[in-house]
Structures are given as structure tokens and as C-alpha cells.
Amino acid sequence: MSQTEAYHVEDEVQQRAYDAQLMRRLLAYVRPYRTFMVAAVLLLFVSALFSSVVPLLNWRAISLYINNPARIEMEHRVQSGDSAAAPALRDQAATDKRGLYKVVVLIAVLMVAEAVIRFAQMLIVAWLGQKAMLKMRVEIFSHLQKMSLRFLDRNPVGRLVTRVTNDVEKLQETIISGIVQVINDLSIVFVILGFMLYNNWRLALIMLSPIPFVFVTGVVFRKYARDSYLEIRRRIARLNSCMQENVSGMRIVSIFNREALRFEQYRRFNADHRDEWFSQVRYYAIYFPIVDFLGTLSVALIILYGGHQILRGQVLFGAAADIGMFFAYVQWSERLYGPIRTLADRYNLLLEAMASSERVFELLDTPEDIPNRPGAPAVSNLRGEVQFNDIWFAYEPGQWVLKGIQLDIRPGERVAIVGHTGAGKTSLVNILSRFYDVQRGSVCVDGIDVRDYEKTSLRRNIGVVLQDVFLFSGSIEQNIRLSNPDLPSDKIRACAEYVNAGKFIERLPSAYAYNVGERGANLSTGQRQLLAFARVLAHNPRILVLDEATSSIDPESEALIQDAIAKLMQDRTSIVIAHRLSTVQHADRIVVMHHGEIREIGTHQQLLARRGLYYTLYRLQYKDQDISRP
């Protein structure tokens, strides 16, 4: 089962937590909002400054007022019976209170200011992240619209959906706020370091001595966490695509009684995913306590060395060191360890975001392998001449599916293609619409190579009814209209009537507004084909291609459709692929394909007369009737 994804290209990325180039590209999305970004960073810095000043103010409040040595001195005197000192003490207490009050108000003001700033900053960052990622999301989506079928075949839908939704979501949540957070953390760390060193550098240095160990721990942790994290990503992707496929194919699963087995497979993937998380959890469980321990060690060092300084009567700023200093340093150390502690989480988020962004950029960098030639003209007024000039085409290198196809179709001609399944009929259509490019030879429309047209306009002029009908969930009208606002509703109705779909549509609960469900699940297969027909007619193409478009439709409806095509498609080129000879025999020319080559070309009568491949097909199909004929 491990190879279940092997048809699809590998989903691997190289992992670097930080990659300057990626980062620059990411930042490009924020560029239009850089004033806001700068504002956010400045606000952050201010708030970091404010919050780091608070311990200092606390220190002052304690040392100067609450624990004012002069007042305490007086207190001792009063206590030891010196009543003369009492009034002075009262005065001093009042002064201290006033001083304390001022400091407290200052702190409160700072805090309110900090909160307001933080609110503003967070709001800016959130808004900015959303804006920037909206742009990226739309960019990916629109890039996907340009990707070739070759690419889309090789990448499971679920994975590409993840790019547009989940990966961008990850970036949105982490990148902008992540960058800002890192700046925030760094500014806090530096501001605090500054304060600590400035006020008492000896104490600061001693207190900071565990920091190198913190870094070593971080490095070791990262190494393990990263590998495990990458493995988790792989496993979750597998888990999700397993579920996705099972949901899509649930009908088959239940009809074939394969629920238990399928569940077993899913359960195994799920268990793998969980187990990998277990090891990830262990790394975290070890990392956090170690950092916490080092944090407490710093506090212990403050008490030890700070106490030593106080004992020695160390003088700082003209006053003896006292317990106010303890206070400030313990607070600072807490604030310092906060960011360090969350660094591990930040790192993982960053890793995740980087992985997401790498995948996203890889997708955005995947060149259109069916590009428009620069300056390629849009198609206008096609006559509808089609030439296949010695076409060689393969899906997989070396496995030729079309081998030297040579075919000229005159404007307005009706050509039918018949042949065994796998002969390459659909492939021929695919290269005409330029879903794939040929390896050798050329396809020309009106004498110009299809590679020299602007491809969207080319495709709009070639109406294809695909072999596998696809309907979008939405109303019948939407499915015919296909977001073309210029199509009047009457035209849509008329086309539906033409192909004999009107009858059944009118009887649906809400007629043209009826929701057909995902892939048209609420309709019968034949009805879906009818809608696909109505759709192509409504878009009025110059060249009409029908790839077994009536295979699931009853002969009577088919006859009606044939009439409709005859009326609607007069003077237009049409290519019809079908197995029912009743469908093809009205064609001007019939092409018989076999193993990627054209075996016979001619009118129905000519081909019958040749007694070749076509003749055998024909005999087979009608032999029953032949027998029954009187």
C-alpha cells in the first residue's frame, strides 16, 4: 500500500526552517502594506519598551518608597520608644505614599498604553496577513487554472486543494504573525538585556549564564523534532488522500462490501500518524521542562549573587542594593524566558509555514507546460479547417499512443472517427484542443499551428463533449451557462430543448434551477450527457467535437440530437467519435483508427466496399438484425 501514491509525483520538499529566498518572496506579498508592517513593528518595539520599564518602576517603588530605608530607620526609632520621631515618621510615610502613588499611576498608564498599542498592532498584523494571503490564495488558484492536464493527472486533487486552502491557511496564521512575533521576542529580549546590563551588569551576567545551555538544548531539540515533523506531514497527507478517495468512491466500496478492508487501511494510516506524533510529543515533553529548569536556575542565581551583593553593601546609582532589585531582576528574567520558552513552538510553526510556502512556491513556479507563445493571437472567425500533420504523441515517454497521424479536415466537413477502445481517439481530440502538446508533427487549425494561438480562445472555439461528462454541483442552468454571463436564459432553454433535455428538466422539482449535485449525481448518466450536449451547443463553437457523446443515450434521443446538430452546426466542422455506426454513417468521411494509426479513410460506402476493418465492425454490429431480417 505504500506505493499507492506512486502514480502521482512525489510530494517532497527540502526542509530548512529559515530560507532567505523564500522569506523574501513571502515578504513580497506584504510589500504593498509595508507602511502598516513598519508601523506594526514600531508599535511592537514601543510596547516591548513599556513592558520592560515596568519592573524598573516596581524596583523604584519598592526601594524608594515601600521599603524606604530612611522611613524604616524612623520606624525602628519609634518602636524603640523615641516618640519625638513619630511626627517625622508620619510625614515621611505621607511622602512615601505620595511617591508610591505617582509611580503606580505611571505604571498603570504604561500598561493601558501597552494594551492599546498591542491591540492596534495585532489588528494590523491580522488584517495584513489576511490581505496578503488572499492575494496568494487567488494567485495559486489562478495558476492552477493554467496548468496542463498532464500536471493535473499526476497530482491528486486532494493535494492541490491542500495548497490552496490549508497551506495558505498555515501561512496566514504563522508567517505574518510569526515574523512579527519573532521581531517582538527579539526586541523584548534586547530591551530587557539592555535594562539588566545597564542597572547591574555583574548580576546580569551571572544570571544569564544558563542561556548557552538553553541554546544547546534548542539545537538538539530542533534536530529531532524536525525529522519527526517531516514524517508527520507525509503521513497526514496520506491519511487525507485516503479518506478523500474513499468518500468519492463510497458507492463502489459499499456495493463491493469493502468497508471493513478500507477501514482497516485507513486505520493503519491513522495509527502511523498517531505514533509519529507520540515521538514528537516526547521531544516537546523533554524540551519544555529543561528550559523551565534553566529559567529557575537563573532566578536562583539572582537570589544567590544578588544576596551576596546586598550583603557586601554594593552601591548602585548612589543607593545600596536592596530587595527591590531582586524584584526587578526576577521579573525581567521571567520576561526573558517567556520568548525563549515559546521559541520551540515558534520554530515549529515557522517550519510548518516554510514547508507550506515552499510547496506553494514550487507550485507557482511550475511552468505552464502548455504555454501561450508570447504575443500569440486570439482566435477569431475560424473557418474550421483542421490538419493533423504526421502526429506523434505519447503520454509516457516512449509509449506512442498516436503514431504518424495524417488527416486533413476541410471547413464544414463532418468527420467520424471509429476504432477499438484504446486506439487513441480521445487522445487525438486532446491534442486538437491542446490539452496536451504533441511530441512530433503539428496540429493546425486554419493553417496555423495550435501552439501559435492563444489557447483559451482556441478552446472556446472548439466545443468538446468529453467522454467523461463532468457536471458541477449547482443548477442545471449554471451547468449549461458555465459562468458565461452573455448567454441569455432563452438560449439555454432552447439548447436544452434541442437536445431533448427540456422534457426531463421541466419535470424536475425546480426545473432549470434544480441542483444536480456533485458531478451531477442527482441525474441519470444519460441525462448528464444530454446536459453536456446542451452546454456545447449553447456555446456555439466553430468546431464541434463529440467524444462518444451519445454512448449512454437511447437511440431515439440520439436521433433527435443528430437533427439538432445538423441544424445548429451547419457549415461548422465536426468530429464525431462513436461506436454506434448509426451515429457515424452520416459523416462525410469516416476515419478508422487502430493502435494509434489511421487504417482507413473514406465514406461509409467506400469503406464497406473495401472489406477492411470498418467492414468487420459493421458486420458485427448488424449481424443480429441481418439474421432476423426476413
Binding site: 517603588a61 518608597y65 491591540f119 486533487v157 515533553a285 503520454y395 483559451t456 467523461d468
Partner: protein, 589 residues
């Protein structure tokens, strides 16, 4: 008996989460005890600080005493470290186990649901719930629960604060009622907004999913740009909802931080006054402030946990929407568990059926004897596929009864019923696995001999041999790297290999060329001789040899009989035949 394959309690997301956590109660309890343990030990810090301050104010500090305090702190740190390690291991691991259970249940539950559910639910939506929403639930369970357990320190810290100075504590608690009110409103808003955001995300996912699944149509009609436009609009509204949510969160965090900060300021102010007035000892004051600081982080964390709760509850509620669904088709107490289909006789007794309000089949009556081959023909949308869906009991009839081997299908265990049926659907679905795995889908233990035989019947041997990987060639999603006819033939092999009692071919060769079809039919005839078979087709050549031909029009059987008798009837079937003949004769002119 229907028993739901999950433990969810729809409408009660919170209870559901609790229920999923129940098996791991022990982990949470031990984790909780550990948490209490290290919280208690950790609370030694304020006492140590108080001790230090007291020694200083009393002037009895010595270096030896300082070393003692130092050692005490280290001891505390080491013990809490171990406790924290185990707390994390227990709780977060338990949360991953919960996630595992929840995922399994979600998957298994979806498997039990019937076709009608899948017809009204988009794959993208189901996936969004299984990824995005489930992740929020997990965050609730892991970090959320651990955060909650850590909240045990709140009362303990409060107790210590009271012990230091109950009066000061009282002062500090004054702002608390206001805080609760503010927090309440924030939560309410966050909840509503989370719901919107998560629903919008699912819509977005579904849209991308469909666009990519339908890439061939999108490209063929060159509507990529317009698709991008509508996607942009959808993304923009997603962004707007998200920004609103972000705004509340940006408000909530600093606000909670501010409130906590102001509480400390209050302590500093009032406590400072008390010290200056001599009613509070400096050491108690310092201890108080340090304990207060310890309180700070949990309080701020509390805001974060609230966010986790909100999103988790919303996520669970959204998953519960799916858990609430019950299979419309299921075994119940009337099911005869021991029953197996042995002969394969089928009888429809005045069966009527409708998908929505619209009648699709009306009063169908027919009998297929074991071993017979029956053909169903009729115009597009007349109800042919629906008839066979009812045989497989993908839906339950509205009126009448479908019997298989003379037992109401509703009383046949679904497993036994589906085991008896081999089905080739009208549109082929293949899995992105190897061709071999796809063929043996209904019979994973098939021998190579059986595989070869099935390939032979479906005329696949040659095709497979031509592939570079042979039978182990891997397929893309839905089998994109095969041609339409190859896919259909694979589906035929898949149905044949299981050797079913009843074989159903629903327009199974529409993409197969006549010559190959002829060869397949030739071999299928041997297969069909040994079992009951139902063939739906538009080609007279395919159906003319059937024992019985049912002509369906507009949900009713309008004609029935053998090829000859139907021709004699000169009705719809004769028309169909005539048309095919006429076309041929025209060409002979």
C-alpha cells in the same frame, strides 16, 4: 440492529468531546495529580522569596543561608521538571489517541451512510470537517485540557495569597466581576464568528475541489478566468469573516493582559500603602507580589484556552452534523442475520420509488427466476439504473416490496445482499491503486488463475500486456490514464471475479467498441448462464438473446417479453428495433 459506529452525541459538542476523552480519564487524572504536585511545589517560590526578604529585613542573612535557598530552588525546579514531563506525555498523548479514535469513527461512520447522503454532501465539505474542524477539536483536547488542568493552580495560588494577606487579596479581586462579564461577551462573539469562519472555509474547500475535479471542462470551455473571479469573491468573504474574528482576538488578549497587569498594580499600590502604614510586613508583601506574578501567566493563558475552547466546540459541532446523519438504509431488528442469497431469484411487487418528491418508478411488477438473463431497455432517465439500485438496496422503496430469494430485501443483511451482487456501474469509478488491486477489489484473495479468467472475460488481457507495468500498473485518480473503454472493461472484470449470484451490467459497454463488445458478450454468456443476470443496454444486439426483456418508460414497465414477442407487439421495442434496422437499410440503398 442499527448501532451508530461512533460515540458522538449530536447537538452536544461538549459532551461529545468529554465522551471521547473518557477512555483516557486515567491519564488525565494522573496528569492532574502531577500538575497539582508541581504546582504545590512550585508555590514554594513565594515562600522562599519571603524567607529571603525576612532574613534581610531582620538582618540575619549569611552566605550559607543564601546557598540554602539556592539549593531549595534547584530542588523545586528539578522535581517540577519531571512532573511536567510526565504531565505532557500523559495528556498530550491521550489527546492524540482521542484524535485517532475520532478520525476512525468519522471514517467508519461515513462508510455506513447511504447514497442519498453522498448525493447531497460535497466531498470537499466532508474533507474540511475531517481536517480543519478535527484539528480544532484536537487543539481543544490536547493543549486545551492541559491548560485547564494547569488552572488547578489558580485556587491554590489564591489560598496562598489569602494566607499572606486576605485583606490585600480582597482588594485585588474587586475587578473580577467586570472581567467575567467582558470575557463572557467576548466568548459569545468568538463562538458565533468561529462558526462562520469554519463554514466559509468548508465552502472554499468545496469550490476548489470541484474546480480541480472538473479541470477538463474548465479548460475546454476556457472559463478559468471566470472561475478565478468567483473564487476571489468567495475568498474575500472568507477573509472578511476571518478579520472580524481576528479583531476580537486582538482585543481579547491585550485586554486580559491589561486586567491582570492592573491587578498587580493594585497590589503594589494598596499593598505598598499597607506596608508604609505598618499593617503589612514587607516579607509578606513581597511573597504576595511574587505569588501574584505566578498567577499572571495562567490568567493570560486562560484567554488562549478560551479561544481553543470556542474553536474546538464549533469544530466538534460541525463534525457532529455528520455524526447526526443516520444511514437511511440499514439492517434492523427484522433483519435475518443468517440469511444468504443462494439462488438469486428477484421479484418486484408493485414497487414505487421517488428520489425527491418526484416519482421515478411506479408500480413495478416483475419476476426474475434464478438463472435467468433479463434485459432492461428504455429511454434515458426512464429509471433503469434506479431499478438495479433498488435490487442492491442502495435506497429503500416508498411502496411495494423487492424480494430476493423470496425475502424482502429490507430483511436481508446488507452484507449478504451485496455479496450476492456483482455490479458494473454506468460510470466507472477506479481507485488510484494498481490494476490488480482494482480488479480484485471485491475479492482480495483472488488467485492469479481467477484474475486471468476475469481479464479474459473482459478482454483485458491484451490491453494489460501492452502496458509497461502489466497488471501492476498504477492508475491515477479515477483511472485517468486509461481510455474510457479500458476503464469499463476493468469494471467488468471487477464484477465478474467475485463470482456473484446476481450479475448486473448497467450500460456496461457504452464505451467499448462493437468488436470488443461482441467478444466480451460471447464470454459473458458463459458467465451469465450460471447466474441471474440483468443487462441494461441501448443496443438491440446486446439484449435480444435475453430470456426476458423489460421495456421501461417513464418509470413504468410498458412492455415485457422475449425479443420475438416484443417485436410482434409493435410497440416501443419494435420501434427501437425498427430504427436500428432502418438506419442500416438506408445505407444499403
Amino acid at each position: 440492529m442499527y448501532r451508530p459506529e461512533h460515540k458522538a452525541i449530536p447537538g452536544r459538542p461538549f459532551l461529545t468531546i468529554l465522551r471521547y476523552n473518557r477512555p483516557y480519564l486515567k491519564s488525565y487524572l494522573i496528569g492532574g495529580i502531577l500538575s497539582v504536585f508541581f504546582v504545590v511545589i512550585g508555590l514554594g517560590l513565594p515562600f522562599i522569596v519571603r524567607g529571603v526578604v525576612r532574613s534581610f529585613t531582620e538582618g540575619q542573612v549569611t552566605m550559607r543561608l543564601l546557598w540554602l535557598y539556592f539549593a531549595a530552588l534547584i530542588a523545586i525546579a528539578v522535581t517540577t521538571g519531571f512532573a511536567r514531563y510526565w504531565e505532557r506525555m500523559l495528556i498530550i498523548r491521550a489527546s492524540r489517541k482521542c484524535e485517532y479514535d475520532l478520525r476512525n469513527d468519522y471514517f467508519r461512520h461515513i462508510q455506513t451512510l447511504s447514497q442519498d447522503f453522498f448525493h447531497r454532501t460535497q466531498t470537499g465539505d466532508l474533507m474540511a470537517r475531517a481536517t480543519n474542524d478535527l484539528n480544532y477539536v484536537r487543539m481543544f483536547i490536547g493543549p486545551g485540557i492541559m491548560g485547564t488542568i494547569d488552572m488547578i493552580q489558580l485556587p491554590l495560588t489564591l489560598a496562598i495569597l489569602a494566607w499572606f494577606s486576605s485583606r490585600l487579596l480582597l482588594y485585588t479581586l474587586i475587578p473580577l466581576p467586570f472581567v467575567s462579564i467582558i470575557v463572557y461577551f467576548i466568548i459569545m462573539y468568538m463562538h458565533r464568528q468561529s462558526q462562520r469562519v469554519q463554514a466559509q472555509y468548508a465552502d472554499l474547500t468545496a469550490q476548489v475541489q470541484e474546480n480541480l475535479a472538473g479541470a477538463r471542462v474548465v479548460q475546454a470551455y476556457g472559463i478559468g478566468e471566470r472561475e478565478t473571479e468567483s473564487f476571489t469573491a468567495e475568498s474575500e468573504s472568507y477573509m472578511r469573516e476571518n478579520v472580524k474574528l481576528a479583531a476580537v482576538m486582538s482585543l481579547a488578549w491585550p485586554l486580559i493582559g491589561l486586567i491582570v497587569g492592573l491587578m498587580i498594580v493594585l497590589v503594589l499600590w494598596l499593598g505598598g500603602f499597607m506596608v508604609i502604614n505598618g499593617v503589612l510586613a514587607l516579607d509578606d508583601f513581597t511573597g504576595f507580589v511574587v505569588a501574584m506574578l505566578l498567577l499572571l501567566w495562567p490568567l493570560v493563558e486562560f484567554g488562549w484556552i478560551l479561544t481553543l475552547y470556542q474553536r474546538g466546540i464549533v469544530g466538534m459541532a460541525r463534525m457532529n452534523d455528520i455524526f447526526r446523519e443516520k444511514p437511511s438504509v440499514r439492517d434492523d431488528e427484522d433483519t435475518q442475520q443468517a440469511f444468504t442469497v443462494t439462488r438469486g431469484g428477484i421479484r418486484f411487487d408493485t414497487v414505487s420509488f421517488s428520489y425527491d418528491s418526484r416519482a421515478v418508478l411506479q408500480d413495478l411488477d416483475f419476476t426474475i427466476l434464478p438463472g435467468q438473463t433479463v434485459a432492461i431497455v428504455g429511454p434515458t432517465g426512464s429509471g433503469k439504473t434506479t431499478v438495479v439500485s433498488l435490487i442492491m438496496r442502495e435506497y429503500d422503496v416508498n411502496a411495494g416490496t423487492v424480494f430476493i430469494d423470496d425475502l424482502d430485501v429490507r430483511r436481508i443483511p446488507l452484507r449478504a445482499l451485496r455479496q450476492a451482487v456483482g455490479y458494473v456501474p454506468q460510470d466507472t469509478f477506479l481507485f488510484s491503486e494498481s490494476i490488480r488491486e482494482n480488479i480484485t477489489f471485491g475479492k482480495p484473495d483472488a488467485t492469479d488463475e481467477q484474475i486471468r479468467y476475469a481479464c479474459e472475460v473482459a478482454q483485458l488481457t491484451e490491453t494489460i500486456d501492452a502496458l509497461p507495468g502489466g497488471i501492476d500498473t498504477l492508475l491515477g485518480e479515477r483511472g485517468v490514464n486509461l481510455s474510457g473503454g479500458q476503464k469499463q472493461r476493468l469494471a467488468i472484470a471487477r464484477a465478474v471475479i467475485a463470482d456473484p449470484k446476481i450479475l448486473i451490467l448497467d450500460d456496461a459497454m457504452s464505451s467499448v467498441d462493437t468488436q470488443t463488445e461482441e467478444k466480451i458478450l460471447e464470454r459473458l454468456r458463459l458467465v451469465m448462464e450460471q447466474r441471474t443476470s440483468i443487462i441494461i443496454s441501448h443496443r438491440i444486439s446486446t439484449v435480444r438473446n435475453a430470456d426476458l426483456i423489460l421495456v421501461v418508460d417513464d418509470g413504468r414497465i410498458v412492455e415485457r417479453g422475449s425479443h420475438e414477442s416484443l417485436l410482434a407487439l409493435r410497440g416501443l421495442y419494435a420501434d427501437l428495433h425498427e430504427r436500428q434496422l432502418l438506419e442500416e437499410e438506408l445505407e444499403h440503398l
